[in-house]
């Protein structure tokens, strides 16, 4: 009997369905036409963005909310190169993505053909892995590997570049979800001996802290973490990527560490005798000057990526494994130590050093921190917040109460302006029942403002809160502090009227210049259908504090211009 042959394009759409994909974020073009033609006949949903970069960020937002890989289609050449910033963003934050790009036909590769770009070469350093498909026979294996790689071990983006003629080639399609890759065997269970050493260290510690990051969220470790905190009475510090892994309003939550972290978190890390680092990578924004980071502490480091252990900081108890599995193993043997004196000291720090900012300004101008706190209050529990990058991002991390994992989306590692709004589109599609808010800046929003068309066209209920200070605020703050107030090109002259822009796209817009208007605007946004753009005109030269200057010890803190 003759076996059934399948076209390359059909292999891709069937594989996506077998992998449980619901939606594709993309933008068509010449080299990817056969795939789009095939897609037209399937029940798969396609979200048409207005710039390929936004497709990746939207898929990334979708992936961070659902935990499943986000899928992107784009064409060859400029379509593919426009993906790069989004891919690098996802790579730095370990977000699972599968990206499928069209390529010029095989015979033209290497000839500088129209819309040809070596996208596997270009994305080599920013993908977990990538493939250039040579023939349709390779497709089933490659697709299955791509989904497996993206969504296991340390998550990450995987790109598949498919020459146009391969979409039309026919071959046998035998798709297996499970696959075997000889060079890829992630370790999930921690080493039993190291786990025993961790248990002993926890029992002996007088001043322990848990220092958690994005790994807690990626491995769904929140329940295990909460049990550990409750039983051992150990306070929790979460990095920007970890926010939401533990309830932000809990008494044992000390906030974010590092450059714009809470004073208590930085003091606690500096004074601790044991740091239980879970799914973090000791980024420079967190550790400050490495030589003086956590000098009194023994460090347990749990991470799924062995290369992160010992990369920046020397580790006493290294545990390679899935954070959740390892935490559960520790819980099984846990013998709590005595931490009450430590908790008392922490409580004192918290009382002495509340998060600054957001008090009424004398001139009556809106304080950005206050706007963010008000949005947080009115959103309640059922919200997902996405941010862009800059001052508003840090204020959101400081003042927005994030209670649940997968409800805070931000570009941590790469710090990509333009991430927030498209990510909020992906988030809304992933969780239609949640209130989705994008907190952005007047600079960041303009980096992907064109996606208003996507949001309006798909009737997505998203609130876009622009913290508008007329500056690239964070850069201006550094110029203020480190460059003698020489504001070189950070004043955003010629900003558009964001309300008129919103209206031109068919969205609702409202401006707020004082507290009353702000309250009214936020209330409107909670009720209104479709995308709502709120333009909060805030104090132009407000700085983010506390602040630790780069490469300073994290207990050397500037509080509103003064050092502590």
């Amino acid at each position: 009997m003759k076996k059934k042959m399948t076209k390359g394009a059909a292999m891709i759409t069937s594989a996506l369905q077998k992998e449980g994909v619901e939606i594709i974020f993309g933008y068509p073009g010449g080299a990817v036409l056969p795939l789009y033609d095939q897609l037209y006949d399937t029940p798969l949903r396609h979200l048409l963005v207005r710039h390929e970069q936004a497709a990746v960020h939207a898929a990334d937002g979708y992936a961070r909310v659902t935990g499943r890989p986000g899928v992107v289609f784009a064409t060859s050449g400029p379509g593919a190169t426009n993906l790069v910033t989004g891919i690098a963003t996802a790579y730095m934050d370990s977000v699972p993505l599968v990206l499928i790009t069209g390529q010029v036909p095989g015979a033209f590769i290497g000839t500088d053909a129209f819309q040809e770009a070596d996208i596997t070469g270009i994305t080599l350093p920013v993908t977990k892995h990538n493939y250039l498909v040579k023939s349709a026979e390779q497709l089933p294996g490659i697709l299955s590997e791509a989904f497996y790689l993206a969504s296991t071990g340390r998550r990450g983006p995987v790109l598949i570049d498919v020459p146009k003629d391969v979409f039309d080639q026919e071959a046998l399609f035998d798709y297996k979800i499970e696959c075997e890759i000889p060079g890829y065997k992630p370790t999930y269970s921690g080493h039993a001996g190291q786990i025993s050493r961790a248990v002993k260290a926890i029992r002996a510690a007088k001043k322990p802290v848990i220092f958690g990051g994005g790994g807690l969220i990626r491995s769904e470790a929140s329940a295990a973490l909460e049990k550990l905190v409750e039983r051992a009475q150990i306070p929790v510090i979460l990095t920007l990527m970890g926010l939401g892994a533990y309830p932000g309003d809990s008494a044992l939550f000390l906030g974010m560490p590092g450059m714009h972290g809470s004073i208590t978190a930085n003091y606690a890390l500096s004074e601790a005798d044991l740091i239980i680092a879970t799914g973090v990578r000791f980024d420079d924004r967190v550790t400050g000057k490495l030589d003086s980071f956590a000098n009194h502490a023994k460090i347990i480091h749990i991470d799924i990526d062995p290369a992160e252990i010992g990369k920046n900081v020397q580790i006493d108890v290294p545990i390679v494994g899935d954070v959740k599995i390892v935490l559960e193993a520790i819980l099984n043997k846990l013998q709590p130590g005595e931490t009450s004196a430590w908790l008392k000291q922490i409580e004192n720090w918290q009382k002495q050093h509340p998060m600054p900012g957001g008090l009424k300004s004398s001139g009556g101008a809106l304080k950005p921190q206050q706007v963010i706190r008000e949005i947080s209050r009115l959103c309640g529990d059922n919200a997902i917040v996405a941010t862009d990058v800059g001052q508003h991002q840090m204020w959101t991390a400081q003042h927005f109460i994030i209670r649940e994992p997968r409800t805070f989306l931000s570009s941590g590692g790469l710090g990509t302006m333009g991430y927030g709004f498209p990510a909020s589109i992906g988030a809304k599609l992933a969780a239609p029942d949640k209130k989705v808010i994008c907190i952005t800046g007047d600079g960041s929003f303009q980096m992907n403002i064109q996606e208003l068309a996507t949001a309006v066209n798909n009737r997505l209920d998203i609130t876009i809160a622009i913290i508008n200070n007329g500056y690239l605020g964070m850069v201006r703050q550094w110029q203020d502090i480190f460059y003698d107030r020489r504001y070189a090109y950070t004043r955003l002259e010629g900003n558009p009227d964001f309300i008129k822009v919103a209206e031109a796209y068919g969205a609702t817009g409202m401006r707020a210049c004082d507290e009353q208007e702000a309250a009214a605007a936020i209330e409107l946004a909670m009720r209104e259908k479709g995308p709502v753009v709120l333009d909060f005109v805030v104090e132009p030269e407000e700085n983010v504090y506390p602040m630790v200057a780069p490469n300073r010890p994290i207990n050397d803190i500037i509080i509103g211009g003064e050092r502590s």
């Binding site: 080599l124 977990k128 040579k134 890759i181 000889p182 890829y184 290369a307 010992g310």
Partner: protein, 164 residues
């Protein structure tokens, strides 16, 4: 200190670029690299000489392991092993100096593989010190050109660097 790493990789397109790219973007220095087939079909072996402290080498090994096409990495400098390199040297050799050169080559158990009226090509294999020593001696005659394969190495005894 110099370390010699045996890296077993899947013989897939772009694997050399992936390895080389990793070294350059993370700021590790490759001293030399030699690539060839192994007894297992579809698997190649790279021998990479890299200079760095223990911490750097640990990162190099871990980062190499993260590449999906890399199956195994072992540091041969940590075990007793045999290391060899092959070098071809083209040296000035007028009729009058040929026998002197011949003597040096014999001492180093090298071979003369080509002779022309005014030059010779010498093939020599060995470890780093031997290469340097013969180079030094032939320098007096005028070395015109040198090519080296890069180091290859195997563990001593019956132990092997496994590909599974």
């Amino acid at each position: 200190m110099k370390h010699v790493l045996a890296v077993l990789v899947e013989d897939k397109p772009g694997v050399l670029t992936r390895v080389a790219g990793l070294f350059s973007r993370r700021g590790f220095n490759i001293d030399n690299i030699a690539v060839g087939e192994t007894v297992s079909p579809g698997i190649s072996r790279m021998t990479i000489t890299v200079e760095g402290s223990e911490t750097i080498i640990e990162q190099v090994v871990k980062q190499l392991h993260k590449l999906v096409n890399v199956i195994r990495v072992s540091n041969l400098s940590e075990e007793p092993s045999v290391m060899r390199e092959l070098m071809l040297i083209k040296v000035n050799a007028e009729a009058g100096s040929r026998s002197d050169i011949q003597q040096i080559v014999e001492t180093f158990r090298g071979k003369v593989v080509d002779v022309s009226p005014d030059s010779m090509i010498i093939e020599v294999t060995g470890n780093e010190e031997k290469m340097e020593a013969i180079k030094l001696l032939l320098n007096d005659f005028g070395i015109k050109e040198i090519v080296r394969t890069g180091k290859v190495a195997l563990l001593r005894g019956s132990m092997v660097t496994r590909d599974s």
